[in-house]
């Protein structure tokens, strides 16, 4: 029986290591298959009723943040976006996607908390969100000058994660 131990013990240890590694993963995290793919061009309206195309790159890379007035985590990341808009607005264009929200609630949210976005796409039915594989707000997409999604942050951003993600743009272009 002893020779079995030489096989069994390492096998069990390996299994244990695998399982404990699995525990460190976040079961709610779903890696996006969209990274490295072009951002879908979605036509619709912004919060002021103007016709817009979401995902269209004008002169700067895009930071597209999906938010909603009913989303608590959006509130926590909002300050980072306000600070980010001041800091990086020359390098990137901040665009909001108002996801599954009432128009008035969305507008009130921006007027009371401050509006870091150059404009916000009005995604009342959540269809744009579906196109983007959004499964919970907030989610933030980073789209480079070529219109390709290079990074995505699921959940609230922080000053640091926002800065890191924006730094990826300059790395990619050089």
């Amino acid at each position: 029986m002893k020779q079995w131990a030489y096989v069994l013990v390492p096998a069990l240890l390996l299994l244990l290591a695998l399982l404990s590694f699995g525990l460190t993963n976040d079961p709610r995290y779903i890696p996006s298959p969209l990274i490295g793919k072009p951002f879908p061009q979605l036509s619709g309206i912004d919060l002021n009723g103007n016709k817009v195309i979401l995902g269209k790159v004008k002169d700067r890379p895009l930071v597209i943040n999906v938010w909603a007035s009913w989303c608590a985590a959006c509130r926590t990341e909002h300050r980072s976006f306000l600070r980010g808009a001041q800091k990086y607005s020359r390098q990137v264009e901040f665009v909001g996607v108002n996801y599954k929200d009432e128009l008035l609630n969305g507008k009130r949210w921006l007027s009371t908390l401050g509006d870091p976005y150059e404009w916000s796409f009005f995604d009342n039915k959540g269809r744009a969100g579906l196109e983007l594989g959004v499964y919970g707000v907030p989610e933030t997409f980073f789209v480079n000058q070529q219109g390709v999604i290079i990074h995505k942050i699921t959940g609230p951003v922080t000053d640091a994660s926002l800065a890191d993600a924006i730094a990826m743009f300059s790395k990619g272009s050089k």
């Binding site: 779903i30 890696p31 996006s32 298959p33 959540g126 269809r127 579906l130 919970g136």
Partner: protein
Amino acid sequence: MSYPVLFITLLLSLLSVSSFSYADTVSEDPLERRALDIGKTLRCAVCQNQPISESNSGLAKDMMAVIKEQLQKGKSEREIEDYFVARYGDYVLMKPRQQGIGLPLWLIPPFLLIIIGSVAFIFLRSRTLKVPGRPKKLTDEEKARIKKEREKNKHDKD
């Protein structure tokens, strides 16, 4: 008629006054059935381990609506699944596909079963082959010794 009798009669008569109930006429839309079948194969991203056909979450309902819409456009089941996989990744499939990275998931279990089965078979067979032979005949000397020991044992007990 006395009051109690009247009362009971009235009460009993109430039982016969039951409202008519109809089952809702169900129009079995073949599209609906197909949409549900596709919905069963897709995982709801918010609720971890529920197909979108059973989930009440907003996202799952939206996804069901998209399925119906695409079916109306004449898209095939595979095309609709691909649509969601392209946006949400392989995660949305309740059953991983039997190709690419999903292939080992399907192949490893039967493979392990075969290995474990054959190891068990070899092990058990080697055990049955190792039947101990007939015991050796005792020599007279040994017999005498056993007898002596037994006697000794008896005396000790007394």
